[in-house]
Homo-oligomer: 343 residues x 2
């Protein structure tokens, strides 16, 4: 299996995030992707390749131009306002009910208009990394379109929390959605399976009114878990998209037994959809020792997850998302890929 | 002039606020109200009185019950989730476009649903202080209704950024709006003049579709100043309220010349409205040495402001709002009251 990777992600290294009332050290850090790359190399799972450049147009098929421009210029605009030594750019005020969105305003109002949390800082290297992560996902999609059974887009920063016009949850551009749209534009019918601990609210929102892309997500119940405001079982799609969104929220403490049942449901739905290609939003924060999560998958369960996905007998693009136990992240990520490849 | 005051505000003492990408020491601190009280006493501007208790019903005329309950229980709910030593409660994720509001969810989702910034922490004493501040405003209104020419509600925390169902901007309950509604419910026709440096977005929103309360605000242009998402000159009211909202945004650096021109416009509009009573959202952060502001009123300008307000020849309830130069805050606040009383 080809892995697409670029070292540009290393310059996206926010020192902290704001949550639970305090600044905490960032958990979405460069070492995450490095550990995974090293394990892919150590296990000889296939070549690790640089991504090809894709045009902005491929991203603008999914993302609002105002979001794109804001992300692109945010670091410059922020440091122009607060100085070269300013801390990472994070919104502190947003247009809640009764307030006006300001898509063309100063940097404070644009961050507040385009972002939905305080955990997604913008530093100098953020835009280059996020833009390259989209190229990584598109390069993986291209490999699939050219006949590969599978590819791994080792994209960082992750993407699944970013919708067409809102970023957040450590995500800026929605890598998996950009790749799915790229498949659609080539006449293919993609299904997205999101196995990250956190609901893929951005991906869901992008395709919520469409039936040409199926979105299925297995995640911790948002009644207690981030992203809090989406991911409930009653969200089934709207309009043309009705019936083409499936959320399978899990209670805290769920282990492989409960998880695999949800996985079976997801597979059945994807089977019935008749997808040409599957994209997996591969978050590894379902791990029992993940520092910010409450599910309990074990190291060997990720091998089974890979085997289970292989049984769908479809080409699969794996797109890297969350997972914050850096020590074990390489192992469990590679387990999914190895379980898939060996099955 | 009677001043209404309660020491309960002292227990609302958040250590910090999150903005510009960092935690900064709080500027909305107990010493503010203490300095003003001491100056009122030193100048013998009138008695300083404890407020009377008013029923919750008076607050619920203006505020959503869900916001009221959330504020009331937030500290308990937050410390139940994060422990007794948790930092002050501040939202870190909110329901932007495409996300669902959750008015009945867990504490994280309710803070995100009901708040619009990260500068308005909830600590143990917040609710008691905010609830008492509403009583202070209502006690002032009661004094006016009983024939006083003026009263001063030395309310803290401030209120003008809080709308019916959103809190923020150091504000939890909208003291001036609660008092204005109390006047309406007694058959009076109130006009609110907001002279705080920051636009009174909460007050505007509460009365935006109504013609029984006029709202006029003089403030720094939101194109560069907080609250960023409301306070523009084109906001004139909607529906029944069309023409009953007047925003007079000022450019950075405006001094008394420009300010007094805006004040004249405000007075003309209030005159034309034919108010029975005027409420002044008395923010003092228009001061040249205010640490977070960019207008340039001088100490003596506040005497003139008071004289100018007296020329309207209406009963006036002053309700304390912002103003963060603690050293001068007593002086400039008392100058407004003295300018008014002496005129």
């Amino acid at each position: 299996m080809k892995t697409f990777y670029s070292p540009s992600h290393r310059d996206h290294s926010p020192p902290h995030e704001f949550e639970m009332g305090r600044l905490a050290p960032a958990v979405e850090i460069p070492e995450r992707a490095e550990r995974v790359r090293m394990e892919v190399e150590a296990r000889k799972l296939g070549p690790v390749l640089a991504p090809s450049p894709f045009p902005d147009a491929a991203i603008l098929r999914v993302h609002d131009r105002g979001l794109f421009k804001t992300l692109c210029g945010a670091h410059d605009d922020w440091t122009k306002r607060y100085g070269a030594d300013a801390p990472a750019a994070i919104p502190s005020c947003w247009p809640a009910r009764g307030l006006r969105e300001r898509r063309e305003g100063d940097i404070e109002s644009r961050l507040g208009t385009y972002c939905f949390d305080t955990a997604t800082p913008i530093v100098k290297g953020t835009w280059a990394a996020a833009r390259k992560a989209a190229d990584i996902a598109l390069s993986g999609a291209d490999a699939i379109a050219n006949g590969a059974r599978a590819a791994f887009a080792l994209a960082r920063p992750p993407g699944h929390h970013a919708s067409g016009d809102v970023y957040g949850g450590y995500c800026y551009l929605n890598n998996v959605a950009i790749a799915a749209q790229w498949f659609v534009d080539r006449g293919l019918k993609p299904a997205i399976l999101d196995v990250d601990y956190h609901h893929g609210n951005g991906t869901q929102t992008i395709f919520y009114r469409r039936r040409d892309v199926l979105f299925v997500s297995i995640h911790a119940d948002p009644s207690f878990a981030y992203p809090h405001f989406l991911g409930f079982a009653d969200e089934a799609g709207e309009g043309d998209g009705e019936g083409f969104n499936l959320n399978l929220p899990l209670t805290a403490g769920t282990g492989w037994d409960g998880y695999s049942q949800a996985l079976d449901k997801a597979r059945s739905r994807i089977e019935a959809f008749g997808a040409d290609v599957m994209l997996v939003s591969l978050g590894l924060d379902t791990f029992e020792y993940d520092p910010i999560s409450q599910l309990r998958l074990k190291t060997e369960d990720y091998l089974r997850m890979g085997e289970c996905l292989a049984r769908l007998d479809k080409p699969v693009l794996f797109v890297f998302e969350g997972g914050y136990n850096v020590e074990h992240l390489g192992t469990i990520t590679a387990n999914v890929l190895e379980g898939f490849s060996g099955a």
